[in-house]
């Protein structure tokens, strides 16, 4: 999950990266867009906030050896320079 802050709106955005398995893979873009929309709808209903889903290739999300790093915070919260 990647958290970033929009320079235009100054609001935080959340982007969820989801690895696509072979079972979920459709050869039609509308099938893949439907999968993305379904995940976004589930996230919205469970969390109450809008989350952008990005479909990525299997094993493309970096694995941690130690403690799992599930959130990447790209906001520059502490360095105001």
């Amino acid at each position: 999950m990647v958290v970033d802050r929009s320079e235009k709106t100054h609001l935080d955005d959340v982007e969820l990266h989801v690895e696509v398995s072979i079972d979920q893979f459709s050869d039609e873009t509308r099938g893949m867009e439907a999968l993305r929309s379904k995940i976004e709808a589930v996230m919205k209903s469970k969390l109450g906030i809008s989350v952008k889903v990005k479909l990525v290739e299997p094993m493309s999300i970096e694995r941690s050896i130690g403690k799992a790093k599930r959130v990447i915070d790209k906001r520059n919260l502490y360095n105001k320079d």
């Binding site: 696509v20 398995s21 072979i22 039609e28 493309s60």
Partner: protein, 138 residues
């Protein structure tokens, strides 16, 4: 039944298509058709190889996300209106086309067009009855 198309899920990053073609090149596989459907984040690369089983095996070996689909390949005269004629036949028989692209194959005065159709068998029967040349392999 039809031609076997291999679809590959790719992230929309520089050089990713070249990764696929590099794997196929190293395995000595020649492509007979290729097209990509892309969105902002990802693309679906669709290829038809001269040896689809080998192509699928090497792509899986290199951890690409793949799936196979039956598509219909039809010889169509390389002349004005030929494709329209086929599309009109599909329309008349209420055969819905999911997507369409052209093959690299060109023999004499005809071209090979690839159709992804939900009911591939029906489409093939309709065209063959009229006299079109549907091909089973490249």
């Amino acid at each position: 039944m039809g031609i076997q198309q291999i679809s590959i899920f790719l992230e929309n990053t520089a050089g990713r298509i070249a990764d696929v073609t590099g794997v196929l090149k190293d395995a000595g596989i020649n492509l007979r058709a290729i097209m990509i459907a892309d969105t902002a984040d990802f693309g679906i690369l669709r290829v038809i190889a001269d040896d689809s089983e080998k192509a699928l095996a090497v792509l899986k070996e290199h951890k690409f996300t793949t799936r196979t689909t039956d598509v219909l390949a039809v010889h169509i005269s390389d002349a004005v209106g030929s494709l329209h004629e086929v599309l009109t036949i599909f329309d008349k028989h209420e055969i819905n086309i999911e997507y369409i692209y052209a093959s690299l194959e060109k023999t004499g005065q005809s071209a090979v067009i690839i159709f992804k159709i939900e009911d591939c068998k029906k489409a093939k029967e309709v065209l063959c009855d009229i006299g079109f040349d549907c091909i089973d392999s490249f």
